[in-house]
C-alpha cells in the first residue's frame, strides 16, 4: 500500500486524455485492418472460380498412394 502511494497520481484530466488517445489508436488500427482485409478479399473475389457449388462438386478424385 505504501508503495502505491509513492506512485505519482495522474490528474483525472490527464487520465481521460490518455484514454482518449488509446481509444483513437485502436479505432484507427481497426479501420486500417478492416481496409486491409477488404482489399485482400476483394482481390481474391476476383480470382475465385465462378459458380463455387458446381466447381467444388465436379472436383472428384480417385484415391492415390
Amino acid at each position: 500500500m505504501a508503495q502505491e502511494q509513492k506512485q505519482p497520481r495522474k490528474s483525472s484530466q490527464e487520465e481521460s486524455a490518455t484514454e482518449e488517445v488509446v481509444e483513437t489508436d485502436v479505432a484507427e488500427r481497426k479501420e486500417m485492418i478492416d481496409e486491409d482485409v477488404d482489399a485482400i478479399l476483394d482481390e481474391i473475389d476476383e480470382v475465385l472460380e465462378t459458380n463455387a457449388e458446381d466447381f467444388v462438386k465436379s472436383f472428384i478424385q480417385k484415391g492415390g498412394e
Binding site: 481474391i44 472436383f59 484415391g63 492415390g64
Partner: protein
C-alpha cells in the same frame, strides 16, 4: 545427427480436366507427364528402371522409343510408362490416378523445401505445356490431399535411418510426435470426416487434410487402413546399413515454413530416436482417435491423454519434443550446431509459443492458419456457414498451382505468407540437382548424356553405349556418393557417356 539426413518427398497432385468431371484421371495425368517430358527431353527419354536386380538384357525392354499417342489409344499398360527422370534428379510419373513428383535426395530441410517447391513449378509448367496440345482441354492441378468426397492421396516423406535402430522404438517415440505435429504441419481443410459431410456442432474446419483418413497405428498399407507409422521397407540403399522410413500421414504443404519445419523437426526427432536420447514415454492413449481429435480442434485446446495419465494439448506435446531436442543438440553439438539445426529449433519454439498464445499469430507462416484466417474473414464479411460452397472452393483453390488462381500464391505474392527462398533459387532447382547426394550423378548424367541413358532409378543409372552389346549399369547404392565432390570434375571432363563409363569401370 542433427536436422541433416538423407531425405526426400513425394507429392501426388489432385487433377481435374476443366469442365469434364468424368474425364479419365489416368489419361489426364499421363498427358501432364508426357507434355513435360516431351518438351524438356532433348533426346530420347530415359525410362525408370523398375528392376534393379534384373540382368542387363532385360533392361532393354524399357528402351523403346515412345510415341506421344492419342490419349484415347493408351492402354493402362502404356499409361504405366509415363514415368521420367528429370535433370534435377527427381522422378515425374503417373501414380494410380495422379501425377506425382518425387524429389531428388537432399540432406537439409531447406533443400527439401527447395526441391519440393521446384516440383510445384514442374507441375505448373507441365499443365501449361499440356494445354498447348491442339484440341486439349485445360488440366488443373492442386497440391492438396482430398476431394472432400472420400478420396485421399498422399504427400509422403522419406527419411534414411540406421538399420540398427529398433523399429519398436521408432513406433513408440514417433507416434506421439505425429499425433501432435499437425498443429505445425497441417494444411487446413474445410470438412470433417472422410467424405467431408460431418457437420455436427458447426465444426467445419480442421487442421489437417489427412488425419481423417488414418485408421490404424502401424501397418504396411498406404491406400486403405492407412497407418500412422508405415512399415514399408525399401531402403533404395544398402539394406544392411539403412532403412528408409516412409511417412505417409503428412499434408501437402504450400507454405515454405510448414515444409521446412515438417522435415526439420521430424529429422531431429529421428536423430534422437537413433541415438536413444528420448528418456521419457510420451505414448498417447488411442493414437488414431487422438490424431483426429487434435485435427478437429483449431482452437488447439483439445487435451490428448498420455498413457501415464497426463493430459496435454498437442502444442504442449510438441513442446516436450522441443525440450528434448534442445537438450539433445546442446548435448551433442553445443555451440557447434549447424545453422539450420539452430534455425529449426528457434522457429519451432517461436511457432509453438505463438500457437499456444493465439494460433492466428502464425497466419504468415503455417498453411492451416493462413487458410483459416482467410476463411474466417470471408465468414465475417459474408456471414457464410461452414457448409457454404464458397468456403469449400477457397479450401480447394488455396492449393491451385497457378500463380494467378492459387490462393496460396496470391497471399504469398501480397507478402502475407513468409518465403524462405526466392523464385530464382526454386526455378534453378527445376533443372539442377542437389550437389550433395547421388541425385547429383543421376541428374548430371541425364543432362549431359541424355542420348546414352537408357534408364535410371534411385539406385542406378543405365547406359546404352554404341559398340556395347549389353547395357551398362552403374549402381548408385550409397545415397551419399555420386555427389559433386565425388564426380563433378569427372563429369565435367568426360564429353561422352562412353568416356564416363570407361573412367568409372577402369
Amino acid at each position: 545427427m542433427s536436422v541433416r539426413r538423407v531425405m526426400g518427398t513425394e507429392v501426388e497432385y489432385g487433377i481435374s480436366v476443366q469442365g469434364q468431371p468424368s474425364a479419365n484421371p489416368m489419361v489426364a495425368s499421363s498427358q501432364i507427364v508426357n507434355a513435360y517430358a516431351s518438351s524438356t527431353a532433348r533426346a530420347r527419354r530415359a525410362r525408370w528402371d523398375f528392376e534393379e536386380e534384373s540382368p542387363l538384357r532385360d533392361a532393354r525392354g524399357f528402351d523403346m522409343a515412345r510415341q506421344i499417342a492419342d490419349p484415347s489409344q493408351l492402354t493402362d499398360e502404356d499409361l504405366g510408362l509415363a514415368n521420367v527422370i528429370l535433370t534435377n534428379g527427381a522422378r515425374l510419373y503417373v501414380d494410380h490416378a495422379h501425377p506425382e513428383y518425387s524429389s531428388p535426395e537432399v540432406t537439409t530441410p531447406l533443400d527439401v523445401v527447395r526441391w519440393e517447391k521446384a516440383g510445384e513449378q514442374v507441375m505448373l509448367d507441365a499443365s501449361r505445356m499440356a494445354a498447348q496440345v491442339p484440341g486439349s482441354t485445360p488440366i488443373l492441378l492442386y497440391k492438396n490431399n482430398t476431394d472432400n468426397k472420400g478420396a485421399s492421396y498422399g504427400a509422403h516423406e522419406n527419411y534414411l535411418m540406421r538399420r540398427s535402430t529398433q523399429f519398436a522404438e521408432i513406433v513408440r517415440h514417433l507416434t506421439p510426435f505425429f499425433v501432435s505435429r499437425q498443429v505445425v504441419t497441417g494444411a487446413g481443410r474445410v470438412g470433417i470426416g472422410q467424405d467431408g459431410r460431418d457437420t455436427t456442432a458447426d465444426r467445419g474446419f480442421q487442421i489437417s487434410q489427412r488425419s481423417d483418413y488414418f485408421e490404424v497405428e502401424v501397418g504396411l498399407e498406404t491406400t486403405l487402413k492407412r497407418p500412422i507409422i508405415n512399415t514399408r521397407d525399401e531402403p533404395h540403399a544398402d539394406p544392411a546399413v539403412y532403412r528408409r522410413l516412409h511417412v505417409i500421414l503428412g499434408d501437402a504443404n504450400l507454405a515454405e515454413v510448414s515444409i521446412y519445419l515438417k522435415s526439420g523437426t521430424t529429422a531431429l526427432v529421428l536423430a534422437m530416436i537413433e541415438d536413444g536420447f528420448i528418456d521419457r514415454d510420451l505414448s498417447v492413449e488411442g493414437a488414431v482417435k487422438s490424431l483426429r481429435d487434435v485435427s478437429h480442434d483449431p482452437t488447439l485446446r483439445h487435451l490428448v491423454t498420455l498413457r501415464d495419465g497426463r493430459r496435454l494439448t498437442a502444442v504442449q506435446l510438441q513442446l516436450e519434443y522441443l525440450d528434448l531436442a534442445r537438450k539433445y543438440v546442446e548435448d551433442r553439438y553445443g555451440s557447434d550446431a549447424d545453422d539450420q539445426t539452430v534455425d529449426v529449433l528457434a522457429r519451432w519454439e517461436s511457432v509453438l509459443t505463438r500457437l499456444e498464445r493465439d494460433p492466428m499469430e502464425c497466419a504468415t507462416e503455417l498453411d492451416w492458419v493462413a487458410k483459416l484466417k482467410l476463411l474466417q474473414q470471408y465468414r465475417d464479411r459474408d456471414g457464410l456457414g461452414w457448409d457454404d460452397a464458397k468456403l469449400h472452393l477457397i479450401d480447394l483453390q488455396y492449393a491451385d498451382v497457378r500463380p494467378d488462381k492459387g490462393l496460396y500464391h496470391r497471399l504469398a505474392a501480397a507478402g502475407r505468407i513468409e518465403r524462405l527462398l526466392d523464385d530464382a533459387t526454386i526455378e534453378a532447382a527445376m533443372h539442377d540437382p542437389p550437389v550433395d547426394t547421388r541425385a547429383y550423378f543421376r541428374g548430371r548424367c541425364l543432362d549431359k548424356y541424355a542420348d546414352s541413358v537408357a534408364a535410371a532409378s534411385w539406385d542406378s543409372v543405365i547406359f546404352d553405349l554404341p559398340g556395347r552389346e549389353s547395357l551398362q549399369r552403374v549402381p548408385t547404392i550409397d545415397p551419399l556418393r555420386g555427389t559433386r565432390a565425388h564426380v563433378g570434375e569427372l563429369i565435367d571432363r568426360c564429353d561422352t557417356a562412353q568416356a564416363l563409363v570407361a573412367a568409372i569401370t577402369r
